[in-house]
Amino acid sequence: MFVSSLEHESNVIYFDNAASTFPKPLSVIEAMSECMIGYAANPGRSGHKLSIKAGQILFDTRMKLAKYFGTENPMRVIFDMNATSVLNLAIKGFAYKGLHVITTSLEHNSTIRPLMRLQDDGIIEVDILQGNRNGVISIDELEDARRGDTKLLVINHASNVTGATQNLLKVCRWCRKNDIVSIVDASQSAGSCDIDINKEHIDILCLTGHKSMLGPMGVGAMIINDSFDYRRIKPLKEGGTGSLSDAITQPTFLPDIFESGTPNVPAIAALGKAIDFIGEHGNDIGNKKDGLKRYFISRAREIKGLKVYTTKDKRAVVSFVIKNIPCSTITQILSEEYNIMSRQGLHCSPLTHKRIGTFPSGTVRFSFSYFNELWQVEKAIEALKEIKCR
């Protein structure tokens, strides 16, 4: 099913998939090497066969992403390095003096830091909604926070700490009704559940390729709804696009306006294959991951002093602490002695940890992928029992 660079360590159990999924489908790896070996030329810059081939592959993935997220126009898919880069583009490119922004306590630093930077610079004002005990916000809260100058909502679809998931349909529909632009961070959810930017009234969807999308690192995408005037976003970088080369000013059309510089063609080619993989396996991926999470939660009850932080949402992320044992001690022992890879700390989401009461010590996080198996969860439970008894 997959090739792992850790094949020689067949015991490795990787539960850090919310940081980056590992391993990847074989087709993803093959697509990267096929590109590097066969046609890794610069797309759009030349007219030779390899450049054209690279451009076609770029287009194929653009088209697949457009269809996967519910839009017909592939030119509304903007490639960049990762979710952080497209979130910075969307947020800073849209921001203007006097803008009031609503956001949530489930934000990752990839959204809250750009927002805080803009607020510190005196450009925008930000209100952070706390939501319920899981950080999930309500329409009532939005109504209370809305002001006359509120024109932007930045919202993380699914928490990378607990898996708590916002109701995008309700929230983004409310935004439309109130003439508020919605920027959705789908870093954790894209690829693990259906997202349709039209049905869910999302204006701008930002995602990364290397998490639940099962692609490689180094590629992310911003998908702009057909109904949204993209000229409301200013590009953060200008430069070579391969188009209108006689002009010394940036092209004003999509996607070139936002895509200066050579794109990561090998990663984009591989992401295209990852989308195919997700399409072929459909709901099996989400169901399997959810099953692993539920199994972990049920078995974790056997460990006295272990407290779980998660929700019933179908996200394969679960945080936990064990009384009187530092999180870093747990993850280090898991890694060194049991070959189980997990993540401790604040997961770049201090607001979430404050909301759920685990700040500043943080939690241990297990995040599962389609390539994890039940026996791996069983082994982790046994390992945690032994660590607890030391």
Partner: protein, 74 residues
């Protein structure tokens, strides 16, 4: 022999147009932009037919913007 070239503002649109036309069974290929019709360094579409009304209609229906059409001896 006369050939028809459809030029685009960006190679992103060349790739899109090629996809649309090939899906409709129209014979075309992305090629280097001939130097005698443009100074652009990218690609354009070369069609084997001189009658491109159907191709242009298809591109219009799919909202694929074009720069211009050139017919040259090549």
């Amino acid at each position: 022999m006369m050939s028809t070239y459809i030029l685009f503002y960006s190679s992103n649109y060349t790739a899109w147009a090629e996809n649309v036309l090939k899906d409709a069974g129209i014979d075309c290929n992305a090629v280097t932009v001939p130097r005698d019709i443009s100074a652009e360094c990218g690609s354009c579409l070369k069609l084997s037919t001189l009658d491109i009304a159907e191709a242009l209609k298809l591109l219009e229906n799919k909202h694929v913007p074009i720069d211009r059409v050139e017919k040259i001896e090549k």
